[in-house]
């Protein structure tokens, strides 16, 4: 079996992290460094008529002010995606139209942060206030246009119409929804809402830049996408890519929030202009209001089904509040359909319609779950409703109707990311086992009977209990688009350098990728010196998003290590004086196969192999660089079970127990895989019950601190049990698929279903605040 895979191996940076030894972006400072502060708009919609920076510039220590007056108005998208980006080019770094409270007015660079902050107050901005568009449901036909005559355009040939406030529009049809819906015996239609949220990576966004000894620009950044940063900064700052180096040091969490290119162009422009190092670190308030968020969503599900529960037709209509700019607008929207609708793949008539609309509110972006979280809220409840109406056991229902190995869904081809999707057959799933194990471990069958709105357990009681579940899928990388690469070279003590473009956000991918190389080369993880995410020294990788790193970058590492293995075998055979097919690797040695009778003469160590290849004969560097593009995006699957208690007096929902069974293929590192699931689940529960953005009537974010926002702390979490239930994905490294995103999608539908079990009522709007819960209980 595996030697280094499927093991709870400690993160290679673990001890350095917990002793405070690792360096994050803000831990880098340079002599003569400028400190940058950004002035953000206090108005949701306004035109800047003038900026008077003269008083600020007169302040001692103020060096530079950047605004629309002195920077080129270059359109781009802040979305760090592949090129050409599927997000519209509708943003300029500093423009003269402010489109949300938090939009960039200008930046000041000064000798100290205090001076930069003080200078912001001296800048006089004359605004012409415009009536903002704050209701996303009214955006499409509004007379207020968020992007009017600003030249915003789609970079790829997709539907885009700023004259209707449409940042994105998607439609996909399979079969004939209308006909099948009309002829169905039973029909339901429900509308669901999900809210804005902040990623809450504990490290705020930061960027530091400097000019190196040869005049090149170096940017250290809290980014998930160093190569996209390099390309986008080059575009905005008009600096050739060859003159830019981007380094991602340790980063303090991302969750999609750092897949945006926000701060890097600002420090780049200041450093390029002044030739001095520059640092910009967002305050927590700036992260909340000015960086990116989870989009707000309205989803409408129309479902036609038979008496036996068979769904004939489903229509998911999604309306996405893209906010002021369309970063990730199209692709998050597409994923709302493509990550949900294939789950029950036997439905013959499907329709997906989606629109992403502009408003004068904070911008959405990539956020763990990426559209699937938003859509599963309704999808998971709709399935529960169909089962309820037709007397089906939901576990058996999912087991019967969900996608199986060897099966496909037409949605895979119908819904891509900015273009047609990629047809694929699912070749690995353990969802049925996940359902069975989850049901057993959560006590599903006993509790579902024990509880219930009319049960003796709950009837007439103040505290009512319920149990609910949801089945889920996601993807692993964007097929035929995302590319990862790896480079390995051997050192003369038998160690290896593993250089990867992949970006470890704290997920542990540096460790996971080293484990994969370890397994191929049969040598311990400690023998790998891992360097990742440096555009000068590591090969290209699209970056850490779309649940891609283990599956995609991992396969690049596997292929690369396999090439290294061939070279090691070749040199080993040469030293041993045998043919290459007579040797194999074993425990950091090349050994002659079945060399039992003459073991001592039959092996040569990695150390000796590398020394030989460096100094002895036919000298060369044992090295390889390999790229990988996936032909498919194999879905991980999961089943989530949650038990709750509803206080019908206060409206407070308490989660009593959460059980998640997860199929991520082969979990490369069991501890890290569990950690991914636990973190996502707690984020999911916190989002379902609490987290939200509250706005003033003028569009200002009111709860812009951790204290007011209220993400979960250690004192809030219920008992959580994770069960990793392997399948084996042939196209992934040692059978691996993804795990990072899927588990954030379960809390909303599972808690809502548990609430129904407890009270007989449905929740249609997240978060399930006590106020909302009481309203539902009263109605």
């Amino acid at each position: 079996m595996f030697k280094y895979i499927k093991k709870p191996i400690e993160k290679i940076d673990g001890l350095a992290l917990v002793t405070g030894n690792e360096k994050y972006t803000d831990d880098f400072s340079f002599d003569n460094m400028l400190h940058v502060s950004v002035l953000h708009s206090g108005f949701a919609y306004a035109k800047i008529e003038n900026i008077d920076e003269s008083a600020a510039l007169k302040m001692p220590g103020v060096v530079e002010v950047l605004s629309y007056k002195n920077i080129k108005q270059i359109l781009y998208t802040t979305a760090g995606q592949g090129y050409p980006e599927p997000s519209p080019y509708d943003t300029v770094l500093f423009g003269n139209v402010m489109r949300f409270v938090g939009d960039n007015v200008c930046a000041v660079a000064a000798e100290t942060k205090e001076i930069a902050d003080a200078a912001l107050k001296k800048i006089k901005v004359s605004y012409k206030r415009l009536k903002p568009l704050l209701d996303f449901e009214k955006s499409e036909n509004s007379k207020i246009l968020v992007h009017k005559d600003d030249g915003a355009f789609p970079k790829i040939p997709v539907y885009y119409d700023a004259s209707q406030n449409l940042a994105a529009k998607v439609e996909a049809n399979v079969g004939n929804f209308e006909e099948a819906f009309l002829s169905s015996e039973n029909k339901i239609e429900h509308t669901f809402f999900t809210q804005y949220a902040s990623h809450c990576a504990i490290e705020p966004h930061a960027a530091v830049s400097y000019i190196d000894t040869r005049g090149r620009l170096v940017i250290i950044s809290t980014t998930q996408v160093p190569f996209h940063v390099r390309r986008i900064v080059s575009h905005i700052a008009e600096i050739p890519i060859s003159k830019i180096r981007v380094i991602k040091p340790r980063i303090g969490g991302g969750f999609g929030g750092k897949q945006e290119v926000l701060l890097e162009p600002i420090v780049a422009l200041i450093t390029w202009k002044t030739k001095r190092p520059a640092k910009l670190v967002y305050s927590r308030k700036e992260v909340f209001k000015s960086s990116r968020t989870r989009h707000g969503y309205r989803t409408i599900f129309k479902v036609g089904f038979q008496k036996d529960g068979k769904i004939n037709a489903i229509h998911l209509d999604a309306l996405e509040n893209s906010g002021a700019y369309g970063s990730h607008a199209l692709t998050v929207l597409s994923n709302a359909g493509s990550k949900t609708l294939p789950l029950l793949n036997k439905i013959e008539n499907l329709k997906f319609t989606g629109k992403g609309v502009y408003t004068n509110l904070p911008c959405g972006g990539a956020y763990r779950g990426y559209g699937a979280t938003e859509a599963y809220f309704g999808y998971g409840q709709i399935v529960d409703m169909v089962c309820e109406a037709t007397n089906n056991d939901i576990i058996e229902y999912y087991k019967k109707w969900s996608i199986k190995s060897g099966e496909t869904s037409p949605i895979f081809k119908a819904l891509g990311e900015g273009k047609e999707g990629v047809a694929m057959t699912v070749t690995s799933t353990s969802l049925n086992e996940c359902l069975e194990v989850g049901a057993k471990e959560s006590g599903w069958y006993e509790k579902e009977k024990l509880y219930g709105a009319n049960s003796t357990f709950n009837k007439g009681k103040r505290f009512k209990r319920g149990i609910g579940m949801a089945a889920l899928m996601q993807g692993s990388a964007i097929p035929e688009i995302d590319m990862a690469s790896a480079y390995i070279k051997m050192n003369d003590d038998g160690s290896f350098n593993l250089n990867i473009g992949a970006t470890d956000l704290g997920t542990g991918s540096d460790t996971i990728l080293a484990q994969i190389a370890s397994e191929v080369l049969d040598t311990p993880v400690e023998n790998f010196i891992v360097t990742s995410s440096d555009t000068d020294f590591t090969p290209f990788d699209t970056g850490a998003y779309a649940s891609s790193t283990t599956y995609l970058s991992g396969q690049a590492v596997l292929k690369c290590a396999t090439k290294i293995k061939e070279q090691i075998l070749q040199v080993g055979a040469e030293i041993l004086g045998v043919n290459i097919d007579e040797v194999e690797i074993y425990d950091s040695n090349v050994v002659i196969k079945s060399s039992n009778e003459n073991q001592n003469k039959g092996e040569v160590s990695y150390e000796d192999i590398c020394r030989y290849s460096f100094y002895q004969n036919n000298q060369f560097q044992i090295q390889a660089g390999v790229s990988h593009v996936s032909p498919k995006s194999p879905p991980p699957f999961a089943a989530h079970f949650v038990e709750i208690e509803v206080d019908t007096f206060t409206g407070i929902i308490k989660v009593l127990k959460y059980v998640a069974t997860v199929d991520c293929g082969t979990p490369i590192n069991t501890t890290l895989a569990e950690g991914q699931a636990e973190g996502a689940i707690v984020n999911g529960i916190s989002y379902a019950l609490f987290e939200n953005y509250y706005f003033s009537q003028h569009g200002k974010l009111l709860n812009d601190t951790f204290g007011k926002y209220g993400m979960y702390t250690a004192a809030d979490i219920p008992p959580i049990k994770i069960f990793l239930i392997d399948s084996y994905e042939e196209t992934g490294p040692f059978g691996a698929k993804s795990i990072s995103e899927i588990n954030i999608n379960g809390a909303l539908p599972a808690i809502a279903n548990a609430f129904f079990n407890a009270t007989g009522k449905r929740l249609f709007k997240a978060p399930f605040s006590p106020e909302y819960v009481l309203k539902i209980l009263a109605g």
Partner: protein, 159 residues
């Protein structure tokens, strides 16, 4: 101005402004192991021990604690000489991005020094002021529990 402070059992001369917070004074003078997550006393990333009590250093004026013993996560243990709690944090997977870890370790260390066999409630109460988005706290709580058990088995203090 310059002023001397007692940090991690040695005297350090810090360059600072008289109105500066302890967090900024530490970070600006190379103690970057103390992290800044919010600067508002709400996330715990900047937690240090002040006279053995955990405080958010962003809420303390540096000059007000000039004569008090300050301990950062590196005062608890270093890469080459880690504390048991740090080793267990790393081996349990209590660290993901690691940005909250210095504060979490300080909180856990402080708890275990006071209370060698904390209950689950006491653990979550001690960690309540430290935010983490990566782990969901599950493995952090587990690491504190494991640390307590091993410290008890070895009959040693959390030193």
């Amino acid at each position: 101005m310059k002023a001397s402070f007692n940090i991690n059992n040695s005297v350090s001369e810090l360059e600072l402004n008289p109105n500066e917070t302890l967090l900024n004074a530490l970070r600006n003078n190379g103690f970057t192991e103390v992290k800044c997550g919010c600067n508002e006393g709400e996330c715990g990333a900047c937690l240090v021990l002040l006279k053995d009590k955990p405080v958010n250093s962003c809420q303390v004026l540096a000059m007000s604690v000039q004569n008090k013993k300050i301990k950062t996560v590196k005062g608890i243990g270093t890469l080459h000489n880690p504390n048991l709690i740090q080793k267990i944090f790393a081996s349990t997977g209590a660290d993901q991005c690691g940005f909250c870890s210095p504060g979490m370790v300080v909180a856990a260390y402080s708890l275990l020094k006071e209370n060698s066999s904390p209950s689950n409630e006491e653990i979550v109460e001690a960690l309540d002021g430290n935010l983490c988005r990566c782990t969901g706290y599950v493995k952090i709580i587990e690491a504190v529990k494991r640390s307590a058990i091993i410290l008890q088995e070895n009959k040693v203090e959390a030193e």
